[in-house]
């Protein structure tokens, strides 16, 4: 149980996907201008991350049993791309309200490095956390934590950006540069969470 909590804390706070692992920077900078789009996008990311992990975990076992680990990258990206397309079609057909709130973000996610990143990191974690018997459930919790961390960063940053729009910024820094500098400050604030997991006496 402790390890699950540790995974959640790590994913959301201490090793935030966006602010400390630099995964998913493009949507973080591109879609975080408004709060509702930020929430919608991150909801879709959590959804796809969980789904992708659920599908790629057994696939990885299949690859490993056949000695084809080297195909991981190709298989995973193809599975994610196909999955995202399929989910979009299914949502459009059968779950119109969900499609209207999440579906429009799905094409953006196909080549989002956060999704492929979480899938690959889960596979890497199996050997890294062997002592904790890292398995399917851990992978799912880790994926959820990563997605929730992405959401937290997006929502926080949407707030920061709405303030930035009214700020008087030097001309050379206007636009992306000041956005990056404020991202740096948000990232800095997340450093304050360091040591929580170590304090739990786990890692």
């Amino acid at each position: 149980m402790k390890f699950y909590i540790a995974l959640l804390v790590m994913g959301i706070l201490t090793q935030n996907f966006v602010l400390s692992k630099f995964l998913g920077i493009c949507p973080f900078l591109g879609v975080s201008k408004k709060l509702n789009t930020a929430v919608g996008m991150s909801g879709a990311v959590i959804f796809v991350m969980l789904l992708a992990t659920a599908v790629t975990y057994p696939l990885n076992i299949l690859l490993e049993n056949n000695g084809m680990e080297y195909l991981q990258t190709i298989v995973f990206i193809l599975v994610i791309a196909a999955l995202v397309q399929m989910v979009e079609i299914i949502l459009k057909k059968y779950m119109k309200p969900l499609y209207n709130s999440l579906g429009i973000y799905l094409p953006l996610i196909t080549t989002n490095c956060a999704v492929l990143g979480v899938v690959i990191l889960n596979i890497d974690n199996i050997t890294a956390y062997q002592a904790y018997n890292y398995g399917f459930l851990h992978s799912m919790v880790n994926s959820f934590a990563a997605g929730a961390g992405f959401m937290l960063a997006m929502v926080l940053f949407a707030g920061v950006r709405s303030r930035l729009e009214t700020a008087d910024v030097p001309k050379a820094l206007q636009g992306l540069p000041i956005t990056l500098v404020s991202a740096s400050i948000v990232s800095l604030s997340f450093l304050g969470f360091g040591g929580i997991v170590e304090g739990m006496g786990l890692m």
Binding site: F22, C113, P177
Partner: protein, 331 residues
Amino acid sequence: MAEKTKPNYGKELTKGFLKENPVLRLVLGTCPTLATSTSVVNGIGMGIAATIVLICSNIAISAMRKIIPEKARIPAYIVIIASFVTVVQMLVKAFVPALDASLGVFLPLIVVNCIILGRAEAYASKNPVLLSAIDGLGMGIGFTAALFCMGAVRELLGAGTFLSGIDTMLGAYIDLNGFTGFDFTDELGSIGLAPMTLFILPAGGFFVFGMLMALANKLAEKKGLQSATLNGCKGCPHASFCAEFSEGKENASQCSKEEAEKEEQVKTEEKEEAPVNESGEAKKDKKKRTEADKKDNGKKESIDEEPLPEVIPEFLKKDIENNKNKEESEE
């Protein structure tokens, strides 16, 4: 073409260095830029790996640009890029294991690097093989140069070293005479200074990137160019989505609604025609329809842009001619 393109080779190569630098001007590939620029050696390693993939994928995609169908192009590009990434990944693991360890997850993540997919979409799918290879090399050098700048600033300020770790990367292949990179920590310590670890941490990465981009914008402004914006990443296949979302949700949902309606229309049309014969005629009909669509689109566009309604853009003319030729040959 031959006479025209000859003087362009140099330009195609150098445009990626500064004028269209993928990181600082087109704002592509931000994730690996921020994550792997903790030291100069890491940055250059990442840059070279991405450059190799970029050149190879540009060559392959350009060579196959006439075979790959328009609608299935993004998955096809992704497969091609993923294959080359796997090759590079295996080479790095075999020959420079230290680099594999320090790049970690970002080595396989070259697959989703926007620079590579972006250049495939914006350049390699429209240009001949040699030009595409040169474009890939130029863009790769631009990416590596940006990573070098970021890495140099972050390593010098954050660790007080320069080129540290070069011996673990290249020591097995080149005789470095015991050179392990410059180390300024002692000199700094003697005047009571310690390196600012912050710059190696993620926060420092964002900060240095922001400052470099401000500098690039300032230089661009002097040359009369626009400052870099994320929406301006015209090469990225998702640029239109990004722009829609940053403008507001309403627009985006409207667009998707329109798309859905269009798709439904197409579906019903297809259903009507489905029983009529098999592939041959149906295909032709589809082609004709797409041609007609294209013509319509072309006209609409030209109406928007120019007063002449009859003008069809040249690339559409070529497309239409090609399609006609194909049909004839099929018959």
